[in-house]
C-alpha cells in the first residue's frame, strides 16, 4: 500500500514535469492521452492496482487516486483553454455572394448517348461485348453472307489495309465471334467505332459509332424483334413515339426490316423539314431475322434456332435526339460543344 502511495506521488511529479514542457496543443494532447486514456492511461493503470489493496485501506487510496485524476483533468483543461484559439463570433458576411463554383469534366456526347442505349439493353438481360476494329474480310463480310464481288458491298464502302484486312464497317463481326464461341441462348449488344470510306460532310463521316444487337434462341420470331425494338425506342425517346417497320435488305438478315420513327421536329407536317426532308419519318435502325446462312456459318442449326439482329448509328440517333445539325461537331471536340453535356 505504501508502494502505491509513493507511485502516485511519483506519477504526480512526472506529470508536472511533463506539463512544464508543453508548448502546444499537440504535445498537450499527447500527455492527456498518456494519463487519461480510458484504456491504457496511467491513471487507469493505477486504478487497476486498487484491486490488490486491502478492503479497509481502499477508501483512502481510492480518494488519493481520484484526487490525482481530478488534478490532471483540471490542469489539462486549463492548458487546453490556453492553447485553444479564441472562437470568434460569426462575422456578418454578405450571404448573397455567389457560392463556390464547382467544376467537373464533361463526357463526350456520343459516349454519353451510347451509355443510355446500353443501359436499356442491360435491363433486358443483354451482355455488352466488344471486338477488334481491324478485321478480316471473312468476319466483316464473308461470314455475314456477303458474296465476294457482290454490289451489296458498295453500301458498306470500306477502308482497306490489305486485300483481306480492313477497318470494320459495322460491329457485326463481333456477333460472329460470339456465336463461334457460344451456343444459344445469346443476347448481346456490340457498341463501338466503325469505319467507312466517306468524305466528311454534315451527315457522313469516315468514323462513327454503332450499337448492334443479337438475340438467338429457340422460338425467336419477327414479333419478338418488333417487341424488343419498340420497347427500346419508346424508352430512348418517349412512350408515345410512332414507330414504323418496313421491308429492307441486308445480306445477313432475312426477312429484313428498317425501323423508322416519326419526325418529332415537324411532326411530319413540314414539306421541307431539315430533319426528315418532309417525309415525316427518320430511319433509326436496321434489323431483321438472322439469315439462315449466317447461322450455318457459325454451326448453329437454323432449323432449330432462330434469332434477330439490329443495328443503329449512335451519332445519327444522338443528332436526332439532341437536334444537332452537323455530325462533324462530334469530332471537332470544341469544348463549348462538349461541355454542354456535363449537364446532361
Amino acid at each position: 500500500m505504501e508502494n502505491l502511495k509513493i507511485e502516485i506521488q511519483n506519477k504526480r511529479k512526472a506529470f508536472e514535469n511533463a506539463l512544464a514542457k508543453v508548448k502546444d496543443k499537440h504535445s498537450l494532447q499527447d500527455i492527456r492521452n498518456e494519463y487519461l486514456s480510458r484504456q491504457r492511461g496511467i491513471i487507469t493503470g493505477i486504478f487497476e492496482q486498487l484491486k490488490h489493496v486491502k478492503p479497509d485501506e481502499k477508501p483512502e487510496i481510492g480518494k488519493l487516486i481520484n484526487d490525482f485524476k481530478k488534478h490532471v483533468q483540471e490542469r489539462v483543461q486549463a492548458l487546453q483553454e490556453k492553447f485553444a484559439a479564441p472562437k470568434k463570433a460569426l462575422e456578418k458576411v454578405d450571404l448573397t455572394l455567389p457560392g463556390e463554383k464547382k467544376y467537373w469534366g464533361a463526357p463526350h456526347p456520343i459516349l454519353l448517348f451510347q451509355q443510355k442505349i446500353e443501359n436499356i439493353f442491360l435491363r433486358m438481360g443483354f451482355s455488352i461485348v466488344d471486338g477488334p476494329e481491324i478485321e478480316t474480310d471473312y468476319y466483316n463480310f464473308g461470314a455475314l453472307n456477303f458474296p465476294p464481288h457482290h454490289p451489296a458491298r458498295d453500301d458498306w464502302d470500306t477502308l482497306y489495309i490489305t486485300d483481306d484486312v480492313l477497318l470494320r464497317t459495322h460491329t457485326s463481326p463481333v456477333q460472329i465471334r460470339v456465336m463461334e464461341k457460344r451456343k444459344p441462348p445469346i443476347r448481346i449488344i456490340n457498341p463501338g467505332k466503325v469505319y467507312r470510306k466517306e468524305a466528311p460532310d454534315p451527315t457522313h463521316l469516315p468514323m462513327f459509332y454503332q450499337v448492334e444487337g443479337l438475340v438467338v434462341d429457340l422460338g425467336i420470331t419477327f414479333a419478338h424483334l418488333k417487341g424488343t425494338l419498340e420497347y427500346f425506342l419508346k424508352t430512348l425517346f418517349h412512350e408515345k413515339i410512332k414507330i414504323r417497320f418496313r421491308p429492307s435488305f441486308f445480306p445477313f438478315t432475312e426477312p429484313s426490316a428498317e425501323v423508322d420513327i416519326e419526325c418529332t421536329v415537324c411532326g411530319g407536317k413540314s414539306e421541307d423539314c431539315r430533319v426528315c426532308g418532309g417525309g415525316g419519318w427518320i430511319e433509326i435502325l436496321g434489323s431483321g431475322m438472322v439469315d439462315p446462312q449466317v447461322l450455318k456459318n457459325v454451326n448453329i442449326d437454323p432449323e432449330k434456332y432462330s434469332g434477330f439482329a439490329f443495328g443503329l448509328g449512335v451519332d445519327r440517333t444522338a443528332m436526332f435526339a439532341y437536334q444537332i445539325p452537323d455530325m462533324r461537331y462530334f469530332y471537332e471536340n470544341d469544348l463549348r460543344f462538349i461541355r454542354q453535356f456535363s449537364l446532361k
Binding site: A18, D24, H26, D30, I31, E34, R40, G41, L97, P98, E100, K101, Y103, G105, A106, P107, H108, L111, G125, V129, D130, E133, I134, H149, P151, A152, D154, L159, Y160, I161, T162, L167, I186, R187, K193, K197, P206, M207, V215, D217, T221, F222, A223, K226, Y231, F245, R246, P247, F249, E254, P255, S256, M289, P302, S306, Y331, N333, D334, L335, S342
Partner: protein, 684 residues
Amino acid sequence: MKISLDWIQNYIDVDLPVSRLVEVLDNIGLLIEDWEEKNGDIILDVETYANRPDTLGHMGIARELAAALGLALKEQRLPLTETNENISDLIDVQIWDEDLCPRYCGMIVKNIKIGPSPEWLIKKIEAMELNPINNVVDVTNYVLFATAQPIHAFDLDKIAGRKIIIRRAKQGEKLLSLEAKDVDLTSEMLVIADEEKPVALAGVIGGENTAVSDSSQNVFIESAHFDPVSVRKTSKATGIQTDAAYRFERGADVSFPPKAARMAASLFSQFGGKVCKGIVDVYPKPRKIKTVMLRDHRVTSLLGVEIDNGFIEKTLADLGFQMENKQPGIWQVKIPHFRIDIEREADLVEEIARFYGYEKIPIQLPPLRSLEPILDPKKERIQTLRQLLFHYGFDEVVNFSFMDPEKEKKFTSDLDPIPIRNPISTKAAFLRTTLLGGLLENVAWNTNRGAEGVHIFEIGNIFHMDNETYNEHLRLSMVMTGSVGERHWKEKSKEGSFFHLKGTCEALMAQLRYGSFSFQEENHPHYQEGCSLVLHFKGEEIGCLGAVDQKILDAYLLKQEVWAAEINLSLLFEKQAQAFQFSAVVKYPSVNRDVSFVADNNVAFEKIREALEKLHLPYLEKFTLYDRFAGSSIPQDKVSLSFRFIFRRPDRTLQADEVDVFQEKIIDTLKARFHFQLREGGEN
C-alpha cells in the same frame, strides 16, 4: 431509281393519289425517298436494294404494285414489220467463253431512219434524267429502264466479217469506248468482238467504231446475259460505271433477252425499220428453274403470326412464283428467273411478310431465358476511369483513328504505323500510333477559339504492325494546358501543372488498385528533355508523362506549355489488381510531430523518401511533405521543407518520450545524409 407513273400505266391501270401510292410502296419495301411532279407526270425516287435487280425497271415495280393492289398486269403487244431476209444469213454469233456469257441474243433491223425520237419517247428518256440522243440510242435506254435488261445497238455495217464473237480480251488489246476513251483490256475482261477487234466491253460499254451514227441504216440489237462478277470486275478495273453494268453486276433475268430484243425491234419498226426474220439465241446450257420448299409452320415460327395458306398462295402467285402443294401446308415453289434473290425458305417468308404487312405482325417481348452473362472487366474499369477523370475536371474527347503521316513522324516511337490502302485523304493515311496527336489538335482548336485552358482526355485504340500482324491497344491519354473553370471571388481556378497531372495519374492508379507503381525520371521522345517521368508497374513501362516536346508543339502551332500523360491500358489491365482488404481501425491515438528543415534545393524528394523508409521505424505510420518554399527568409540555394510524421502503436498509446527517440533518429539521419538543418522555430 426514278420511276415515272405515266410509264407504270403501260403495265397496270393504277388510279390512286400519290400519297397512297407512296405508302403502298413503302410498306412493301420500295421506299420512296422523294417524289415530284414533272411535265404532268409524277416521278418517284425509289430506293432499291442490291439483291433486287428486278426492281431496276418499270415493269418490275409494276409487278410489285400489281401484287400489292391486286391488279392484273397488262399484256404487252410487240408487233414487228418484217423483211424477207433471215438473220442467220446476215450474222454469225459465237460464244467462246460461255462461263462469262451464258446467253446471247440478237436481232437485226434494216433501213431505220435515224433521227430524233418521237415526243412520247423523249418524255420518258427525260423522266430518267437522260438527254435524248437519237431514236436508236433512246430505244436502247427505254428498254433498259422499262425491263431492267440492258441492250446494245451496233451499226451492222461496221461489224467486220459479219461476225460477233464473245470472248475474253487478249492482253494488250484496246477498245475506243463510247465515252471516246481508249480502254486497255486485260485477259480477264469479256468483250464482244467482230472478226478483227473488240467492239464492246461486254455488259459495260459499247465501242465508238461500231456505234450507231446519223448515217447508220442497219442495226444489230444485242440482248445478252453476262456473268455478274465478271461485269463488276471489269467495271471496277476500268472505272466505267454505266446503267447497263449496274444491272448486270446485280444479276439480270436470264430468260428475258429474247423479249427485250423483240421489244427494241418492235420500236424500231415504228421508225421505218424492217426486222429480219428470226432471232439469234445462243444459249448453250439453259438454266433450270430453282425450286424451294416452303412450310407454313416455318412461316409462323419465323414471323410469330399465323398467316392463312390462301393468302400465302395468292401472294406468291401474284409475284410470279409457281406453287405446287405437295402435302397440306408444304409447297414446292418454282422461282422465276427474274427473282435471283430467292434461294431459301427464309427468302419466301420475307415475300409473304412484305405483302402481309410488317405493321400487322404482333409486337411481343421475347421470352428471356436465363443465360450466363458475358462479363467485360475492361469496360467496368474504363467506366471507373472516366468518372474519376470527370471528377478531376477533364473533358472527354473522341478523335478519328487516322493520322497525318507527316505529323506521325514527329512522334518518334518504336511503333510501326499501319497505312490505309485507300484513305479518305493523304492527311488520314495512317492509323494513329498515339492519342497525343489528336489531343494536341484539340488543344490548338480550342485555344484558337479563346479557351483559357484545356484539360482533356481520350480513351481509345492506337494501332501498329509487327511484320504481318496488325495490333490495336487501348490507351488513355490526358493533356492539360492553362487553367479551367471560371475565376471566382473565393476559389482559385484549376491551373494545369505537371504535379496536377502526376497527382491525377497517382490517383487513377490507386483507384484501380494498382498501388505498387513507381515513377522514374527518364527521357521520352514525346517530352522535353529532363521533363518527363516514366510510370512503372511490376517492372514494366505502363505510361509516361511530362512537358510535351517543343518540336511536337511546333507541328501543332502551339506556343504555350502543354502537359501530357499516356497510359497503356491494354497492358495495365492484363495485370492483377490488388484485392481489396479491410484493415482494422487502430483505436489508440496517434502522436503527430511536425518538423521543418532547411535543405539544399538539389536533394531529390525521392531520395529523402527512400532514406526514411530504410530507417524502418516501427511505429511511423506515415509522413507527408506539407510545405515547401524558398525565398526571403531562406538562404540562397536552400529550401524549407516541412514534414509531418505520424506515429502510432496498434497495441497501446505511445508515450511522448518514446516518440522523442524516433524523432531524434529521423533528424539525425536527415542531417547526416543530406546536411539538413532544423529550421528556426524547429519542431513546430
